[in-house]
Amino acid sequence: MKQKQRDNEGNIARLDDQEFRRLSGPRRAWLEFSRNRFALVGAAFMVFIIFMGLSAPVVTTHDPYEQSLRKRMKPPSAEHWLGTDELGRDFYSRLVYGARISLFVGIVGTAVGVFCGAIVGLISGFFGGRTDTLIMRAIDIMYAFPGIVLAILIVSVLGTSLVNLIIVLAIWAVPTLSRIVRGNVLSLKEQEYVEAARALGAGRARIMFAHLLPNTLAPIIVYATLAVAGSILTTAALGFLGLGVQPPQAEWGNILSNGRQYLRKAPLLMIFPGTLIFLTVMSINLIGDALRDALDPYIQ
């Protein structure tokens, strides 16, 4: 068993090595994961945010779009928990509705990107040769536009709509995912069980999807999680630059960008959404890190 750090006083520490080894893979991974306290805090926070986002109409106190010029930029109060923005809209309600958009775009965009990236990587690694070279050169070109630059360029061409934003995030996730999957497939396809499958007459598709893909699942899960964090950051950054979700629709990035104009008068309008983005991204990163540690034996 891997030597773990100090925070090992949880239940698992009482299982001795042998007992631990007898557990099935996923169960062992879950135990590893669940004794990482940072990850549990992160997971709890994400459950909370997702719950708030999903039940936004119920948990909010006001209509997020209702303006009231008499109540502009009020500090937090019993009526308006986090105060009001420059148009007198309830800030708490706007942030809750904002969570919906930010999480939805981040998760769906990443999911599409991970799916495409995994397939591209699988094909590239499995077929090798000219296919591989061609795909990897294309990925190299995508890597030439680092991070947010790629997203900005695509948005500048496609325009800003929710669907386009999801496309942007999907494209954004493809290069990293496909490189990781390709790398894994390259080493996996030399293994004996793949040879055995081929000897038994399994076709290419069967080897790729029934044998290789399940065995690359661990790194895919880890990087997909980290990509969600990246996507949420990117969505917020695009919103902040005015290239993401357009106001009046509430999205954390554009709420923050809006609040920036009132930095002196009402700094909370900038501080609250930023803190939310920060905590959300950090929680997902904590979960991703713990998943990486927990799934370690599966990651090559």
Partner: protein, 310 residues
């Protein structure tokens, strides 16, 4: 070794060409007539028609696509990106004026990032499992997770508004560089620190490190003479990736701090749908990323003789 370097160089060329081509295709894919994007929105009716005809004539939008592509490629290779649609100034001149600003900020941020990232990573690896390690890794994770635009605003709020000791934005002396450098440096140092730590941990578990300890070297000597040298080798590579990361971050940081660099230029271009500007700035960024990666790959060959040149 020369063969490897030449091969690596030859690989970089199609990537740059690919990036140029990708940008051109992206422009073709943009919905609507490309010429229409050149017409300022306040032009109406006949004025717009006349302008459109002029644009079509000038840029040759009526020519077949392959001809347009070749012309674009030829111009780009001569560093001619056309003129900005809003200011009508040559994009190349604008870029030339802005590059030094971005380089200045980028170099300062890279230095800060490298110093922070490497020292945090090495220290965490040496003290692995302790509270020092935990604390340092939390600091690194905060850097990774913090939205750079928000961090920038928080710093402006504290150091320019509440305790007005630093300018909130703009170009100027060394004081103007402090906040943007901190934002860019710290947010990119997080990744670096995590990478350095895991790279160091890998090395620390090696036999030769155990041998060094066994022969009675002090822990300090083991770390500095044996572990650090090998643990930091892969970091050279990551420093290249880090540069790309800082370049991407500078787009946002320059916008927040109104720092007149290439990143702000790109954002201005995107907001004004100024396609020559977007193309020029995008290409400059892409080319520098490819070149920096090339440079670090070549550098790695010199510092790590174990690399095989396949």
């Amino acid at each position: 070794m020369r063969k490897y370097i030449v091969k690596r160089l030859l690989l970089a060329i199609p990537t740059i060409f690919g990036a140029i081509t990708a940008l051109w295709f992206a422009m073709q894919l943009a919905p609507g007539d490309p010429a229409l994007m050149f017409v300022p929105p306040d032009f109406q009716g006949e004025e717009a028609e006349a302008y459109l005809a002029k644009i079509n004539e000038k840029y040759g939008f009526n020519d077949p696509l392959p001809i347009q592509y070749l012309r674009y490629m030829r111009n780009t290779l001569q560093f001619d990106f056309g003129a900005s649609l809003r200011t009508l100034r040559p994009v190349t001149d604008d870029l030339a004026r802005r590059v030094p600003n971005t380089v200045r900020l980028g170099v300062a941020a890279s230095l800060l990032s490298a110093v922070l990232g490497i020292s945090i990573g090495v220290l965490a690896a040496i003290k692995r499992g302790s509270w020092v390690d935990n604390m340092l890794m939390v600091i690194a994770l905060v850097g990774v997770s913090m939205p750079n635009f928000w961090f920038a605003l928080v710093l402006i709020l504290i150091f320019a508004l509440y305790i007005p000791i630093l300018p909130p934005s703009g170009l100027g002396g060394a004081k103007h560089m402090i906040l943007p450098t901190i934002v860019l440096g710290y947010t990119s140092a997080g990744y670096l620190a995590r990478y350095v730590r895991s790279s160091m941990l890998e090395v620390i578990n090696n036999d030769y490190v155990r041998t060094a300890r066994a022969k009675g070297l002090s822990e300090r000597n083991v770390m500095i003479k044996h572990a650090l040298r090998n643990g930091l080798l892969p970091v050279v590579n990551v420093l290249g990736i880090n540069m790309a990361f800082i370049l991407a971050g500078s787009v946002i940081v320059e916008t927040v701090f109104a720092w007149p660099g290439v990143g702000l230029y790109l954002i201005d271009g995107v907001n004004g749908r100024d396609f020559p500007v977007i193309q020029g700035a995008g290409l400059l960024i892409a080319t520098s990323v490819v070149l920096v990666n090339l440079l670090t790959d070549v550098l790695l060959v010199y510092v790590d003789p174990r690399i095989r040149f396949e």
